[in-house]
Amino acid sequence: MPRIADTDFDPLIQQAWQVLETLTDPEIPVVTLRDMGIVRKVLHHDDGLEVIITPTYSGCPAMEQIEDDVRTSLAQLGGPVRVTTQLSPAWTTDWMSDAAREKLRAYGIAPPHRCASVGDNVVQFAPRAASRLTAPDRPACPQCGSLQTTEVSHFGSTACKALYKCLNCLEPFDYFKPY
């Protein structure tokens, strides 16, 4: 049976995590891949390291860059590395750490609400999607903190974001969509 070392006490795995901790999302350079919940697991097999990653959006152009970054950076540890893409369970913004959410906010991107709180509302119908959201569901403006915000467009600068506007300070901002 192939050996899979215990994650907590294997020094190579700990080193790998230290390296992975330095890798950031290619499109949002303030959060790490681990913060984002993209890097799921590091395994130590007889024939080298295996890193399990879960892709975000099906068509996210950053995924190949991310795979490359993981492979290149772990190569410095010496041994062979393979990256395995795992689709299920599907990536969700709920995996984002609280630290990551705070970093997004500081960077000017409103962090996603928990999917549990939004639920199937993602698909609920209303003539004006934003106006239906009650105040606690609306993203707070990352600049001034106001909850008086409104959706400008379902899609923002990348697939994972929507475009909002603050009605208080009038600044436009990206909202990381709950996914």
Partner: protein, 265 residues
Amino acid sequence: MDTRVTPAKAPEDYLLHLADNAMVLGQRNAEWCGHGPILEEDIAMANVSLDLIGQARLLYQLVAERRGHGCTEDTLAYFRDVPQFRNYTLLELPHHGPLVGYAVAERDYAVTLVRNFLISALMVEVWAGLSHAPDPELAAIAERSLKETRYHLRHSHDWLVRLGDGTDESHQRMQAALDHLWAYTQEFWTATDLEAAATQQGLDMAAIRHAWQTTVTAGLAQATLRQPADGGYVSQGKQCVHSEHLGYLLAEMQSLARAHPQGQW
């Protein structure tokens, strides 16, 4: 190695049907990139296309892996011809109404939005059902595609209402788009080997049709649009019998790969 197809695995044709649907609609909608009616919608349609092409890639990769013998996602997307594509005819139609003779038309965003609404309302149900499919790899793809498709439905539904219940001009154009496209949705329900495969993967096509009709009826009512009567020619794109439009779409999509058949990029 044992390569027998176990009953749990979805038949290849069914996977290609799902993949071709996503690929062809993704390619069609991507025509708006740089030409969208407003900047936000230009970006929206490019993002919707990215999702669809991403879904198609996952499905093509799955087929290629199972088929082996040098098959890749690229050979499936770029080196098959019209008679091998299994997408619904609805998805290959240009972004405008029917034309006669040598008439030419500009793209009409109403056609784009109505089509996206009709197909997203269907695919939300299909992906939700397939999330529990006995084929575990298909289920994994369905689970993530569902999230994206829900959002596409929200986007197209929002615009359906905004434009349907908008000005006289926008209402008239949305109704014309619906009148043009409606007959093609009949293809969703004709029973073929693909629906048998869907059933085997846990889908209840009668329940899906009911759910789709409920979504569509509610959406059209809010948008003050009238549902056309069924009837007329029932298209057969999923059985590889296509309209004249698919060839042009594929020619544009495939020409680069075919001009450089060994190209790597």
